[in-house]
Structures are given as structure tokens and as C-alpha cells.
């Protein structure tokens, strides 16, 4: 039973995959994207204690050097997250797959599946596998939302119980990727190929920011890497919005609708058939 640090669980979520799903967000990410929309999920809390004093309801306290959170008292004002200098939150809880599944279960039969997101959920592969086994027994489909930096081919048992992966392809050029995320993208490309060939690629996602993200190169790259498979896999073009962003791009504007439509048209011309803008 390997637990995962859980940021939050959304009982009903429309944005994370097909149909109605329970979404589980883990805490902690191995990238530092300049456009992260959930920056408070990036880092695991270091127990520095700065937020404890900023909590107006007294929901946060120290115990044995650890910052703990009393959920009942919290009024979700957001002050703790706002004041955390490390892009973290004092509220995540270590939970086992069984504990998380107990929360998921409450939403059956209103959901058709679960989506685990983050942070980066593949940092907790054993937890994912255990959770998915439980969910599959309840006939729920199990999706992973990932930045693609974990070598998924190393976890065949997890992939067996995983219905599909929604993969971020953040940039194709290595330098661009590095500048945007602080990480390397070789593994993302490997996963792209691996997932497409094992029919586990549920969706590909590109956050579009002119100048920062080489969208056209990404599209070309995907096509060269997975060939004809690209036709039938969903491609989601996400219009960058700076709402909630704390990183370098927090003051960057959204691309225009025309830009997004233009990209969509190019993708369709290249043979992608299921292209959505959000």
C-alpha cells in the first residue's frame, strides 16, 4: 500500500476526460512549467510554517515539526496558498488507494470513470496501479493525465489497468521545452510512441502560446512519431490563459481566436481528425 499525497478530489468533473468523472489531483510535480495553472500543486510542502500565521481561521497548526490542516475549520479563503513562497499548499493529505477509492465510490453510479491528474500523478505509479485495480472492479474507466516524463513502458501492470493517458506535448524543440518547463522532453516523445502503439493514447494536449510553444513543430513531430495513428486520436488545442498562473508567463496574453482557429485548420490539413479548441 503505497500512499500518494492528494491535493484534492473533485467528485464530479467535466473537464478531465469523457463523460462525468471523479478527478483526483496529486501533489507534487517534476516540472516547473512557466504557465502552470495549478502552481500550488507543484511542490510538496516543506513545513516552513509561513502559512500557519496567515490562516485567519486557525485551521493550520504545527505538530512534530509538520504543518497540519483541520479541514472542518477551513473556509477555503486561499490565504495559505497565496502566501506560500514555494508554490505549495499545507492541505494535501497522504492517502492510500483504498482511502481514495472510498471517496470515488460515493459517486457511483453517476460517473463513468476516474481521472488522476496533478501535479504529476505518474510520480506515484504503485498508488495508481492499486487505485485502478479497485476502480476497474467497479467498471470505471481509469485515465491518467500526464506530462509524459515518466517512462510508462516500465510499468506494464499499471498500463494494463489504465484505460488511457492524456498526454501533454508541451514543446517539440528540446530547448523550447527546457525553457518552458525546466525539464527534458525525450521521454515525452518516447511515451508518445509507446502509448500510441499500445492504444493507450487517449488524448494529446498542446497549450498554445505564440513564440513560446512551437505548435507547428509539435504537430509535425507527432505525425512523424506515430504516423497514421494520429488521425484517430483526440487532439486538444488549449488556449493559454494567464488566470492563476504564477510563473514567468503570468503577464502573457492569450492568443487570439483567429490564431487558435488557424492552428486548428493546420492540424486538420495535416490529417488530425479530432481537433478541439478549449
Amino acid at each position: 500500500m503505497k500512499p500518494a499525497l492528494i491535493h484534492k478530489i473533485i467528485p464530479h468533473s467535466i473537464v478531465d476526460g469523457p463523460g462525468n468523472r471523479t478527478s483526483i489531483f496529486v501533489q507534487g510535480c517534476n516540472l516547473k512549467c512557466a504557465y502552470c495553472h495549478n502552481p500550488e500543486t507543484q511542490q510538496v510542502c516543506s513545513n516552513c510554517g509561513i502559512c500557519v500565521e496567515k490562516c485567519p481561521t486557525g485551521s493550520l497548526y504545527f505538530e512534530n515539526g509538520e504543518v497540519l490542516w483541520e479541514e472542518e475549520k477551513c473556509d477555503s479563503c486561499g490565504s495559505c496558498i497565496q502566501h506560500c513562497p514555494y508554490h505549495s499548499s499545507p492541505k494535501p493529505k497522504w492517502m492510500t488507494a483504498e482511502e481514495v477509492f472510498k471517496e470515488v465510490e460515493k459517486n457511483i453510479p453517476f460517473i463513468r470513470g476516474i481521472t488522476v491528474s496533478g501535479g504529476e500523478c505518474t510520480l506515484y505509479p504503485e498508488f495508481l496501479q492499486e487505485l485502478f485495480i479497485l476502480a476497474q472492479k467497479a467498471q470505471l474507466s481509469c485515465l491518467i493525465d500526464s506530462n509524459g516524463t515518466t517512462d510508462l513502458s516500465q510499468y506494464p501492470k499499471l498500463m494494463e489497468v489504465c484505460s488511457g493517458v492524456m498526454l501533454d506535448v508541451k514543446a517539440w524543440d528540446r530547448k523550447k521545452f527546457k525553457r518552458l518547463t525546466g525539464g527534458e522532453n525525450e521521454m515525452v516523445k518516447k511515451n508518445l510512441k509507446f502509448l500510441a502503439h499500445t492504444n493507450k493514447l487517449e488524448e494529446m494536449r498542446i497549450v498554445c502560446i505564440p513564440g513560446e510553444v512551437d505548435v507547428e513543430d509539435i504537430l509535425e513531430g507527432i505525425k512523424t512519431t506515430i504516423g497514421d495513428k494520429s488521425r484517430n486520436i483526440k487532439l486538444k488545442l488549449i488556449k493559454f490563459r494567464n488566470h492563476g498562473v504564477k510563473g514567468r508567463l503570468k503577464n502573457t496574453n492569450s492568443p487570439s481566436d483567429e490564431y487558435m482557429k488557424d492552428i486548428q485548420r493546420k492540424a486538420l490539413e495535416m490529417g488530425f481528425q479530432h481537433v478541439n479548441i478549449t
Binding site: 467528485p11 464530479h12 468533473s13 467535466i14 473537464v15 463523460g19 462525468n20 457511483i108 453510479p109 453517476f110
Partner: protein, 498 residues
Amino acid sequence: MTDVLDLIKSRKLAYEQKVLSLAHAAENSVDVLHIPEKTKYYFEKNAIDHLFEGNAPYRPRYILPDYDKFIENGSEFLQLDPPKDLDELLNSLMILYRHVPSITSFPVYLGNLDKMIEPFIAEYSDDEVRKKLKLFLNYLDRTITDSFCHANLGPEYTRAGRLILEVEKEVQNAIPNLTLKYNPDITPDEMGELALNTSLFCANPAICNHKLNKDTYCCDYGIASCYNILPLGGGAYTLSRIVLPKAAKLAKNIDDFFHTILPDCLQSMGDYMNERVSFLVEESGFFESSFLVKEGLIDKDKFVGMFGIVGLADCTNILLEGTGKRYGHDADADDLADKIMHTISDFVTSFPAKYSPIAEDHFMLHAQVGMDYDKDVTAGVRIPVGDEPENISDHLRHSARFHELIPTGCSDIFSMETTARNNPAAMLDIVKGAFSLGVKYISFYEENSDLVRITGYLVKKSEMEKYRNDQVVLQNTTQLGAPNYDSNKLDQRKVRGV
């Protein structure tokens, strides 16, 4: 007769609204029903409520004509041949609707519209049908000036059904209410999703659990007025209601409620309803003179008496005052509510009702939705607005439990975040789950929608605003809706994200 003069001089009522109100005043000038003192006492305390149906019933409250029969035979009385094409069909229906009485004097049921229209549209393009439907629907909206009016769709997919939904989204009318009869085994997901998505643009249609409702009677059913499940080719004679929180307030304690007040109220209301039904059937002459009866569009043997309950939540909370336990949040509270429901249901399913063979000579329970004059009375068995459980799963499980004993209409309403428009499949998942657990009827609207569902009927926020500013408004349900919206704080209805 100052009331009458007030009506005549009113600056807020449109002409037609005045005429109807004056007819009501005339009816109330006679006294033909025998009402015992005890019943009068409970009426005075509003523990039971006759909903101002009038002192001398001369037409059934709700009528659901067999429109298929009309389409097949035409009408001798109305001098109409069976329609041969779409124009004739829509025109004939417009004429017939005008002659279907009800408690509001407007038709409360317009038929299974998609199925009625489907055989007539084969030779027309989508655009041609849309144009005709738009005229037809706007005619209905502007002449049936009362939202307690319903048209049904489904459960099968039809081209006509799809086109009606498309037009509905465009015209944004409050009338008629639309309901899709939905059965996941029959209704394609595509149709379910289109219906749900449409409801996030115009609060229509609502979704009825066809599987659970279809065997309510030995004949087919229709959804009429707000969301009343009634026999097709018949309807409801009358609807009275027991106002549970008012009854609870008369009780000294829980024991007194169960042993004296509740049984007294139930008995008084049962007797009163029989009194109404008897007058209507035996003395009013309705069933002897109406062409609807003569031409076989309705049949006396297909009418029921609707035994309404309202405010189960508030009643439970009153009985548990001081314990801190609340309906919809504590198992003990819900168990007590369940006991109240079973007590009522046991009474209703054994009390002999007059002239009700279709209901095996009983009245039938109905979750009444509240009146404009109600304060602190929550619709039917719903959880009070503003006190809804955090997770919609808990809410729907609760609904499923309390819908069970109510056969003639029981519903829930959810206000949704705008983003729900992006994922109709997610909405359908919720509906499927809810229906599989026993929820009988559900409806949605989008949080910023001008059209909002008050208790079962639709009203436009913009029209309510006019009414509040003392302007004459077209639809008389706006006059019911505005105070209801305000006093029940419906703007605080919990908004659900999916």
C-alpha cells in the same frame, strides 16, 4: 363584492387575466360542497389546502386528451377533418388546444408532440419544418399565457423531436414546458445529450424516467402541467395538498403529530377531495356535455384525484427542532421523513376514492411544488434551497429514496455552471445514474439563464422584473413566479458544476 371591483379596476392584470379572475370570483359566490367544521379548521390553519380550485368544480383540474385519436378522426364538434399534411395538423392542434379546459382554463397537456408531428414531415427539409414549428411554438407561447402547460417528447429518437429541440433553443419560450421521456435502453445517447444540452440554454426540456413512470397506469401516461404523471385520455379531477410544516406546527410533539394531527388532516383532505370529485362527476354535467368525452378523447374512468404533499423537509425539521438534525443531512432526520411518507402513503393507498377505477379506487400521491403564498414550505420532498448537500451524488441518492412512494409526479431541479454546456455526456451520466437509483424526474437550467424553473414551471427573470415594477405582463405564471422566486430565495439554489 369589493374583490370583484378590485379585479375590474386592476392595473396589473391583462384583460384575459381579469376575465378568468372574474369567472373564479363568480364560482366562489356559490357554496355547494359540504365541508365539516374540523376540515374548515385545518383549512384555516393551512395544514390542508384546496389550492383555490374554486367552490364549485365544473371541469377537471388537468385534462390529457388522446391527441392521436383526434389526429386520426378529426373532430365533429370542431368541424375538422383528419389533418392530411403538416399545415393542417398544426392548425387543427391550435384549434383543439383552445378547447381543452383545465383549472387555469388553458390546456395543460399538448401531447407527445414529436410523435404526433413525425409522420407529417417526411417531404419537408429541416429548414422548412423549423420555420413551421417556430410559428406554431410562438403561437402557443403567446396565447397559452400560463406556464402550467406541457408537451412531451420521446422516448424514441425522432427527427421531429430533434427539430423541436433546435427551435426551442432558438425561440427561448417559457411555454410549453417540454419533457423528454428518457429510457437509456430506447433513447439514443445522442438524443439524451441534445436534450440536456438544450436545457442549459433554455431550461427545457426536463427529463422523465420513462422506465419508472411508464407502468403507473394500465394505459399510457403523459406529463402535464408542471411534471404531473397522469393517464393519457384522462387526467386529474382535482389536487389538494397537505402542508406538512403547518400540520407539524399544530402538533404538541412527534407523537401527537403521528397519532392525531396527521391522521386527522389526511382524513379531512380525503373526504374533501371525494366531495369535489362527486360534485364534478355527478352534478356539474362536465362529463355529459364535453365534446372531448363524446368524441372519445377523454374518458371519465381515466381520471384520478391527486393527493398532494408539500414541505416534507420543513415538517421534519420542525419535528426535530432543538436536536440540530436536518432533512437531507442526518440519517435520523431522513428516517423520520421516511416514516411520515410511509404513513401518508399507507393512508392514500387504502382510503377509498370516488370514481377512480384507473387508480384502483384510490387517490394518488403527488409531490406538490408550492404556491406563491408559501413561506418556509419546500416543494414536495425536495431539500430546501440553500441547504443542498455539497456533493450532487448525495443529493440524488436522497431524491431517489423519497421519489419512491410518489406516483403522480415528483421532481428535482438543478442549476448548473455554464461550463456544463461543454460536456453533455457528463450530464447524461448523472441522469443515467440518478434514474438507475430511482429518481423519477429531473431538470436543469444554466445558472445565468433568463428562463428559470420556479418549482416546476418556467418563468423569465426579465418578465419577473417587469412585474415587480408594476407592469402588465403576458403570462400569469409570472405573477406566481415572482413572489415564489423571492420568498423561496430561488436565486440561492446551489449551482452545480459537473
